[in-house]
Amino acid sequence: MASGITILDPTNESKPATRQVLERPASVKGLTVGLLDISKPRGNVFLNRIEELLTERGAKVLRYSKPTFTKPAPVDLRQEIATQCNLVIEALAD
C-alpha cells in the first residue's frame, strides 16, 4: 500500500515495560508497612488511624513524610521506603 506522510516523533519515545502489580499479601502480620504523609493538612489524622489498625493486625509501621506536597518525593526518601518496607500507603488529605 502506498504510504502517507512521515513525521518525526514528538514524544520522549519511552516505551515503559508494563509494570506487574505485586500479589496482594494474605495478611499484613509480620510485614513492614510504610505510611507516607505527603504533608497536606490533616494527612496525619488519617494515617494515625491507619497505623492503629495495621498495628492491631500485627504489622510493623514506619512513618515517612514528603517535605512538601507540591513536589515529588525526593529520590533518597523513595529509596529509603523501598529498602525498609514491604508495603507502602500514601495519604492525600485536605
Binding site: S3, G4, I5, D9, T70
Partner: protein, 481 residues
C-alpha cells in the same frame, strides 16, 4: 539520508538553467570557453538539452548546485586540483574575462547583467534538499501514517495535541526549524518534567513545528523551556496542582520587536503568531516530551485557557518604568524571558483616577482579591499596566520602585481582619498572626509589567500559584542564539 558531495572537475565549471535569460545570453561565452585549453564542465539545472551548443550535465537532483552553495545562475567556478579557487555569478564581463584569462570573452555582450535564482534555493524545494543532502544529526524516531489516515486526525488520536490541530512535523519542517538556532540538535536543554527525560533541541524543534512557530522563535522557545524546567519554577508542581495555573511567559528585549511580538492592542489575546506559538510550543513540549497531560499528572480543577498559550512582550519603548527583565538583572539590550506560574488575566477598571495615589488605591483593592482577600504573602501576581494608566504615573514621575513601595504600603492590613473566622469567613491566615500587620505580597511578589493598546483606562492582574520553596518562583533566562 545524506549524500557524498560531488567533487567538481578541474577546469571551469558553470551552472546554468534555461529559464534564466542571463544564462541564455552567455551561451556563446560558454562555446568560447569550451574551445579554449582549459576543460569546461557545464551543469544545467532544469532542461537537459540546454545549452544546445555546449555539452552539459543535467544536475537533475540539484546535488551539485546544493553542495556548492549555488545561489545564482549562471555561476562560474574555477577549480584547480579539486579545489575551488575563484567564482563569480551573474554576468560581469570583467570577472569572467579575468577568471578565464580570456580578455576578449563576451566582448559583444553588455558589461553586466544580473543572474537568476538557482533552483537549489527555490523556497518551494529548499527544505526538501536540506533534508536530503544535509548530514543532519536528527535522530528522532519516524512515524509513518498510512495513506488512508488523515495526519491531523492521527496526531490528535495519538495524544500529541492540545486539542487544536498541529502542523505535521515532517523532517523537512524540523530541519528548517533547526536553522533558527545555533544549538546542536542533540544538545540537552533541560530535564523535562514530569517524566524527567532529557529534552533536546531536536525535540523542541519538532514540537515548535507542531505549534506553528517560525525558526526565528526557536531561541525564545528554548529559553522559556530552560526557565520552566528547574526546581525553582517547579514545572512538575505547576502541572500537578489543582489550582488553575500554567507558565505565563513575559518576553523582553529588542528581539521581541524583531520577531514581531505583540505588546500592544490585545497583547494577551489571539492573532499574533509569535506570542501564541511560542507559548504553545512550550506547552506542547511539556506535554509530549515531559509527559505532562491533563487528567494524568496535570490535576487542575478548572485550568485556564492560558494553558494552551500565554505569552506576551513588554512594551519597553512606551513604558515609563524600567522593564521587568532589567528589574530582574538582565543587562539592557539583551533578550530575556521570565516565566510565572499564573492563571488567566483579570481586568482592573478605573476610568476616574487622575492621581497616582487614587489609581494605586484601586490597584491595591483589586490585588487584595488575588485568590482570596484574606490570604496574603503566599501568592505572587503580575500587574500589567496599560498606556492610559501608565500615563498617570509618568506624569507624576513615579518610578517602578515608588509604585511597588506604594502598593505594598497601601495593602497593609491588620491581622485581625485576615485571620480564620474574621469577617464571617472561615478562610484566612493562621490565628497566631492576629496581631501582625501584613502586606498582600511578599517582597518581589508583584511582577510589574507594561503592555496593552493605546486606549483603555484598564490594567490587568494575573494571579500566581503558591510561591517560594513549597510552590513556584518566577524565573528569568537570557535568550541565546
Amino acid at each position: 539520508m545524506s549524500s557524498v558531495p560531488p567533487v567538481l572537475p578541474d577546469g571551469f565549471v558553470v551552472i546554468v538553467k534555461r529559464e534564466c535569460a542571463t544564462c541564455q545570453m552567455v551561451e556563446p561565452v560558454l562555446q568560447a570557453i569550451e574551445k579554449g585549453a582549459t576543460p569546461l564542465t557545464v551543469y544545467t539545472q532544469d532542461d537537459p538539452t540546454f545549452p544546445a551548443s555546449v555539452s552539459a550535465i543535467h544536475d537533475s537532483d540539484l546535488a551539485v548546485s546544493w553542495h556548492n552553495d549555488i545561489d545564482t545562475v549562471p555561476t562560474l567556478i574555477k577549480v584547480v586540483n579539486g579545489k575551488e579557487v575563484e567564482r563569480t555569478f551573474g554576468w560581469l564581463a570583467s570577472d569572467w574575462q579575468r577568471i578565464t584569462d580570456m580578455p576578449l570573452l563576451g566582448a559583444d555582450l553588455p558589461a553586466m547583467r544580473p543572474g537568476c535564482g538557482s533552483m537549489s534555493v527555490d523556497p518551494d524545494i529548499v527544505d526538501k534538499l536540506r533534508a536530503k543532502f544535509t548530514d543532519s544529526p536528527v535522530i528522532a524516531r519516524t512515524v509513518e501514517f498510512s495513506e488512508a489516515e488523515d495526519e491531523f486526525e492521527a496526531m490528535y488520536a495519538r495524544g500529541w495535541t492540545d486539542g487544536f490541530p498541529v502542523i505535521p512535523p515532517t523532517r523537512e519542517r524540523v530541519l528548517r526549524m533547526l536553522t533558527g538556532t545555533t544549538r546542536h540538535p542533540q544538545d540537552v536543554i533541560a530535564i523535562a518534567p514530569p517524566d524527567l527525560v532529557e529534552l533536546t533541541v531536536e525535540k523542541i524543534a519538532i514540537n515548535a513545528v507542531m505549534a506553528g512557530c517560525l525558526p526565528e522563535y526557536m531561541p525564545w522557545v528554548i529559553a522559556a523551556l530552560e526557565a520552566v524546567c528547574n526546581d525553582e519554577f517547579n514545572m512538575h508542581g505547576v502541572l500537578a496542582t489543582t489550582m488553575p495555573v500554567g507558565p505565563v511567559i513575559i518576553c523582553n528585549g529588542p528581539g521581541t520587536r524583531a520577531i514581531g511580538m505583540n505588546s500592544g492592542i490585545n497583547a494577551f489575546g489571539q492573532g499574533n503568531r509569535a506570542n501564541n506559538t511560542i507559548g504553545r510550543a512550550v506547552q506542547l513540549t511539556i506535554r509530549n516530551v515531559g509527559g505532562g497531560r491533563p487528567g494524568e499528572v496535570d490535576r487542575a480543577t478548572h485550568g485556564n485557557p492560558g494553558k494552551i498559550s500565554f505569552c506576551f512582550a513588554e512594551d519597553e519603548v512606551g513604558s515609563p518604568f524600567t522593564s521587568l527583565a532589567t528589574e530582574r538583572g538582565v543587562p539592557l539590550g539583551q533578550n530575556a524571558v521570565t516565566v510565572f506560574a499564573g492563571e488567566g488575566p483579570r481586568c482592573v477598571v478605573d476610568q476616574l483616577a487622575r492621581t497616582p495615589e487614587e489609581l494605586t488605591n484601586s490597584f491595591v483593592a483589586c490585588l487584595q482579591t488575588v485568590h482570596h482577600p484574606k490570604l496574603v504573602i503566599g501568592f505572587d501576581a503580575i500587574l500589567t499596566i496599560s498606556p492610559d494608566h501608565g500615563r498617570v504615573y509618568a506624569e507624576a514621575g513615579w518610578s517602578r520602585e515608588k509604585l511597588i513601595a506604594e502598593l505594598t504600603e497601601r495593602s497593609l492590613t491588620p491581622g485581625a481582619e485576615l485571620v480564620r473566622g474574621a469577617q464571617e469567613m472561615a478562610e484566612g491566615i493562621p490565628p497566631h498572626l492576629r496581631d501582625a500587620t501584613l502586606p498582600k505580597f511578599r517582597a518581589g511578589g508583584i511582577l510589574l509589567t507594561y503592555a496593552g493598546g493605546g486606549a483603555g483606562l484598564f490594567s490587568s492582574i494575573v494571579a500566581g500559584w503558591a510561591n517560594g520553596a513549597i510552590g513556584s518562583d518566577p524565573v528569568t533566562r537570557v535568550v541565546g542564539s
